[in-house]
């Protein structure tokens, strides 16, 4: 048998790139077992084991850098939350990716994403001037030094037509709730969360620094985000780069208003709503109650818990740059979410993340369940319950 050569130099390189807890891993394999890839069949499921990928990294052995292995992780975080050694698995993944991305290799599906981020500051190949197109006639206050909150709309909801509806409903409810907020618009760049997970540290830094500079210039102190991904980055990654802001997700703001009685959804919707905890809202930011408070506040809705909820929520498969990946039908774990909602007799699958909406809607369509189950963002339901046609 030909033995494979260990490379300590390679291992050191990975550690230096940020995989600082790579050595802490004791190879118990819990991460691989919890990983959503275990729940589906197919090529990636067969080749991607996060435990093994980290093992290869520990020894600097080739194999961790194969594209379908290295770029499989959706950064859902369920492994990391449960690792008995508190290994920062996602940091390891990101750092291992960065060693190849910085060497010039970017996987095909995200090449255009990276390009557009460089050119336009958003991943959707949308020109900067069109960043405010989502407003479509809706009156949206502009941010000024007197405004309490900056509303930071996720690039996805700026450019993707389906997702733009989310931005509009968020604005609608914030306005009805009397929140003092405003938007900046064109000068904003993508928060950079996803591109960092893809492994492009440099680009992330560039985006983050430009946002920090902009926010400071405009006098931003508090930020409401529409997406939990922006929330995560602003909260956890911007401070290191000098960007200290008070950041909050819109569901938290609105749940506060509902609890105080300042916002009363009153149009009964008569729906059975299953709630999908987005990884980044739930596990990564530990926001489990606010979205549930909102759904419960809508008259005539029955809130259904999926069989995996809260900390155990099953990923939609859209994180870590996987939003742009091509995965054959039957191998997408988002489909399992739709089937779960169906088994629980839900007619709405609600969530609170623009990525989840895109993924789950596509899965619904792929399963041909769009007649039975409608994928909606919570803001859309709330807004409808307050009399707005969406």
């Amino acid at each position: 048998m030909e033995a494979k050569e260990i490379s300590l130099e390679m291992k050191e390189y990975l550690v230096a790139a940020g995989a600082q807890t790579l050595d802490h891993c004791m190879q118990c394999g819990l991460c691989s077992a919890l990983c959503p890839w275990r729940m589906v069949s197919g090529h990636i499921s067969e080749v991607f084991y996060i435990r093994k990928m980290q093992r290869l990294g520990q020894l600097g052995l080739e194999g961790f850098d194969t594209e379908e292995v290295l770029f499989a992780c959706t950064t859902c975080g369920i492994c990391q939350l449960n690792c008995p050694r508190q290994v920062k698995i996602i940091e390891n993944v990101r750092s291992m990716r960065s060693t190849t991305v910085e060497a010039g290799f970017v996987p095909a599906p995200v090449r255009s994403v990276v390009g557009s981020l460089h050119a336009n500051g958003n991943p959707w190949s949308g020109p900067r001037e069109k960043r405010m197109d989502w407003q479509q006639g809706v009156e949206v206050p502009a941010f000024s030094p007197d405004t309490e909150y900056l509303l930071f709309v996720c690039c996805t909801s700026c450019y993707d037509p389906r997702s733009q509806r989310i931005a509009r409903s968020v604005v609608d409810i914030l306005k009805k709730g009397g929140v003092n907020f405003g938007v900046i618009g064109e000068e904003e760049s993508c928060c950079g969360e996803t591109v960092r997970k893809i492994g492009d540290e440099e680009l992330f830094k560039k985006l983050a620094e430009s946002n920090i500079k902009l926010f400071k210039e405009k006098g931003v102190k508090k930020i409401i985000t529409t997406s939990p991904h922006c929330l995560y980055t602003f909260k956890n990654e911007y401070p290191e780069l000098g960007g200290e802001f008070e950041v909050i997700h819109y569901t938290q703001v609105v749940a506060g208003l509902v609890e105080e009685g300042k916002l009363v959804p009153n149009v009964p919707l008569g729906k059975k709503v299953a709630y999908h905890d987005p990884c980044y809202l739930g596990r990564h930011n530990e926001i489990f109650e606010a979205p549930r408070t909102l759904l419960k506040a809508i008259p005539g809705t029955e809130l259904i818990e999926l069989s995996r909820a809260r900390e155990r929520s099953l990923c939609c498969a859209g994180g870590g740059g996987r939003l742009w990946a091509e995965v054959p039908r039957g191998e997408r774990f988002g489909e399992l979410r739709v089937l779960d909602a169906e088994a629980k007799n839900a007619n709405i699958l609600a969530t609170a993340c623009p990525y989840c909406v895109i993924m789950l809607e596509a899965d619904c369509l792929a399963l041909d369940k769009q007649e039975k189950i409608k994928v909606m963002e919570i803001s859309e339901l709330l807004s409808a319950s307050m009399g707005r046609e969406s």
Partner: protein, 736 residues
């Protein structure tokens, strides 16, 4: 003693509702003419107990049969000093597992009472054995961590101690360590070895006599009165001690047998012990050329957990290698550390150490070594890494350290097999193995050292009674008992010395030690009829019986655990206890009423071991499982005390079947007297002869092994036997 018998029937706990108590009383008053027979609705209450006490004072009652709950409960309530107390189990094994107000249940209760009365009639109160010139000194053999701890603890508890150490200085293995792993939180820091303070404490203690450079020449006697000869510098000293702690530790496995791992072939392959010395000298250098080491590989389980070498885990070498990995990292944080393991077993709190070593960047490899080779003065390891799923090769390594395992000192020496004699009888019971390790040099008929288990550790029950060896009054502690680390050794020695002190005190009271701590009876031999057959000396699991030149048995009551195995073994039936004897149990069997064949009420006697089977039967009752009404249960001290004559007695009386319920025997035995149930099954293998003589089927006798938790299986075990007996048909001796 003039006996005045009284029977008390409790009608509480459902007994009175399920039985015809008047009819039951008549068994006592009419059949056995018992002068006092009373019933009470709550016998274990203050009033019930008072009733008995009044009869003792007023009527002179001194022999009491309590027909109520199991003997396993309320023994403290029904405790009447100077009286014989016999318990009849009407509750757990009576009304709780048989239907109420049923003819068969009533018959069962009446038979139980008959057996209880017969036993009480024939028992006499035990008179505790009083040995003379008792010593309360503890002897500790071995002055390592375990021995030092044991001596210090005994002295602290107020007992004089004699400590014998082979080496010229105390401290044992630990003195050779450079550092020890942390004994306190966070458990990931290394500490200076603290053995010197322990040695000082012992050497300065006026209650501890230390013999260094000394060895045991001979130990004779028995608990409370061991006579010890100690050889030191050619002189012989003698000491009389009460009990003994064996703490002679372990030695490292012989690395010269590990050529496949490069030892002896390459200078840069060393043992953990050698590495420890290098670290203590402060020189981590390659033996081949004196170069400072920049990379070290630790190979764990070197010769351990390996069928060809030591099949067991030595418990410390994982932790030990982790500690040594830190030596490397402390000297040079940039140095590379490889750790090759089968399983990482950082026992106790040393998971914290493991985590620390991981964080310091050591590389861990799980799997099997495929090869170790030299490459230009450095070593290269090839390894089948389970976690990669492939064979891998390291970069050049300066030094390879083999983590060798532990061999107990009791495992080293010529193997002796103890048998009755050399007549080569084909059906000997399984023999004990004793290794002549030259440690205790006991003057015991059964051999000079402790019987050992298959890897040479002293035989004991690792879960139920870890310290008790097979020689009463001798308790093993530390790495001679089982591989263990420093914290475990300290606890172990403390536990063992406590056992040694208990032994001293119980012996002074004339009581047995574990597991029959309350028992004051002991076996007595009616020597006039002894045939010198040696069965008792050989079968006693505890080596209690010596022999004179004429092969007469010489019992040592303070060595005895009161199991009755000798009583079961003796073909002449001349060994008996005041409250337990062959005729006594035989008469209990005879007291059972056997219905005529046409009544179709078969009878089965169950001899149930008191340690596990009897409590399991009680638990069946507590859980209200239903048991066949045909059984009559007789508790025995150990199945080893079962004398074949009982089976003959039962069968000739017309009993249809006999079921023996005893502990699991064999390698993972659960027998509280180690060999008892095994010996019973051996004796049973010889019963067919007797049965043939009586023209009976051997199917009528069955033995089953039950654990204490097997209560749920019990009804089925009995049911299966009942069906078998139905096939065989009724005992033709009925009515004779």
């Amino acid at each position: 003693m003039d006996k005045k018998l009284a029977v008390y029937i409790c009608t509480g706990c459902g007994i009175g509702d399920a039985l015809d108590v008047d009819a039951l009383s008549k068994v006592a008053t009419k059949e056995y003419k018992v002068p006092v027979c009373k019933s009470h609705p709550f016998l274990c209450g203050a009033e019930g107990v008072e009733l008995i006490k009044q009869d003792m004072e007023g009527e002179g009652v001194n022999t009491i049969v309590i027909a109520a709950c199991s003997m396993r409960v309320n023994y403290d309530v029904f405790n009447f000093p100077n009286a014989i107390v016999e318990r009849v189990n009407l509750r757990e094994q009576g009304v709780w597992c048989h239907p109420a107000n049923d003819e068969d249940t009533q018959m069962l209760a009446e038979d139980s009472l008959r057996m209880g009365i017969v036993k009480a009639q024939q028992s006499s109160p035990p008179e505790p054995f009083q040995a003379e010139n008792l010593s309360k000194t503890v002897l500790v053999v071995g002055g390592g961590l375990a021995g030092l701890t044991a001596a210090a603890e005994a002295a602290r508890a107020g007992y004089k101690t004699v400590l014998v150490e082979k080496n010229p200085s105390l401290g044992g293995w630990v003195t050779r360590l450079y550092k020890q792993v942390g004994l306190k939180p966070p458990y990931s820091e290394l500490e200076d070895v603290d053995i010197a303070q322990r040695v000082k404490e012992v050497e300065e203690n006026p209650n501890i006599t230390v013999y260094k450079g000394a060895q045991i020449e001979k130990i004779s006697g028995a608990p409370g009165m061991f006579d010890v000869q100690i050889r030191q510098n050619g002189n012989l000293a003698t000491e009389r001690v009460g009990s003994i702690v064996l703490a002679t530790g372990a030695v490292a496995y012989d690395a010269t047998r590990l050529g496949h791992l490069g030892f002896g072939r390459y200078p840069n392959v060393v043992t953990g012990e050698m590495f420890e010395e290098m670290a203590a000298r402060g020189e981590l250098k390659r033996p081949s050329d004196g170069k400072e080491v920049k990379s070290v590989a630790f190979i764990l389980c070197a010769g351990s957990r390996d069928k060809e070498h030591l099949p067991y885990c030595s418990a410390i070498c994982c932790t030990e290698s982790l500690k040594q990995a830190l030596y490397v990292k402390e000297k040079d944080p940039e140095a590379t550390v490889y750790i090759f393991y089968k399983d990482m077993r950082a026992a106790g709190n040393y998971e914290f150490l493991y985590q620390r070593v991981q964080k310091e960047g050591a590389l861990f490899f799980r799997g099997e070594i495929a090869g170790i080779e030299e490459d230009g003065g450095s070593m290269v390891v090839e390894f089948d890494d389970v976690l990669v799923g492939d064979r891998i090769r390291t970069e050049p390594i300066d030094l390879v350290v083999l983590a060798t395992g532990m061999v107990p000192t009791t495992a080293i020496g010529e193997r002796l097999v103890v048998q009755a004699d050399e007549q080569g009888k084909e059906s000997e019971p399984p023999a004990d193995e004793i290794i002549k390790s030259n440690i205790l040099n006991l003057e015991y008929r059964q051999g000079p050292e402790l019987p050992t288990l298959k890897y040479g550790f002293a035989d004991s029950h690792f879960i139920c009674f870890p310290y008790e060896t097979r020689r009463t009054g001798i308790y093993a502690a530390g790495s001679v008992r089982a591989p263990m680390d420093i914290p475990s050794t300290i606890k172990d020695a403390t536990g063992a010395v406590l056992k040694a002190i208990q032994c001293i005190e119980l012996t002074a009271e004339g009581s047995a030690v574990h597991p029959r701590v309350w028992d004051l009876s002991y076996p007595e031999f009616f020597m006039q009829r002894c045939t010198q057959c040696k069965r008792c000396t050989v079968e006693c699991p505890f080596g209690a019986i010596n022999e004179d030149e004429k092969a007469n048995p010489l019992p040592n009551p303070t060595r005895c655990r009161r199991c009755g195995t000798c009583m079961g073994a003796c073909p002449e039936r001349i060994i008996s206890f005041k409250n337990y004897s062959v005729p006594m149990i035989g008469n209990m069997v005879k007291a059972i009423e056997v219905p005529e064949e046409d009544e179709e009420k078969p009878r089965i006697v169950i001899f149930a071991c008191e340690n596990d089977a009897y409590p399991a039967l009680d638990m069946a009752g507590i859980n209200r499982l239903t048991i066949s009404p045909w059984v009559r249960i007789i508790p025995v001290r150990c199945l080893g005390s079962m004398n074949l004559i009982w089976i003959a007695d039962a069968l000739s009386k017309g009993i249809d079947g006999i079921l023996l319920l005893g502990c699991k025997h064999g390698e993972d035995y659960q027998c509280h007297f180690i060999k008892g149930s095994e010996l019973a099954s051996y004796r049973l293998s010889k019963i067919s002869e007797t049965l043939n003589r009586l023209a009976l089927e051997s199917d009528r006798v069955r033995m089953e092994q039950v654990g204490i938790m097997d209560y749920d299986r019990i009804p089925q075990i009995i049911e299966d036997f009942v069906s078998k007996l139905e096939e065989v048909g009724p005992n033709p001796y009925k009515g004779f």
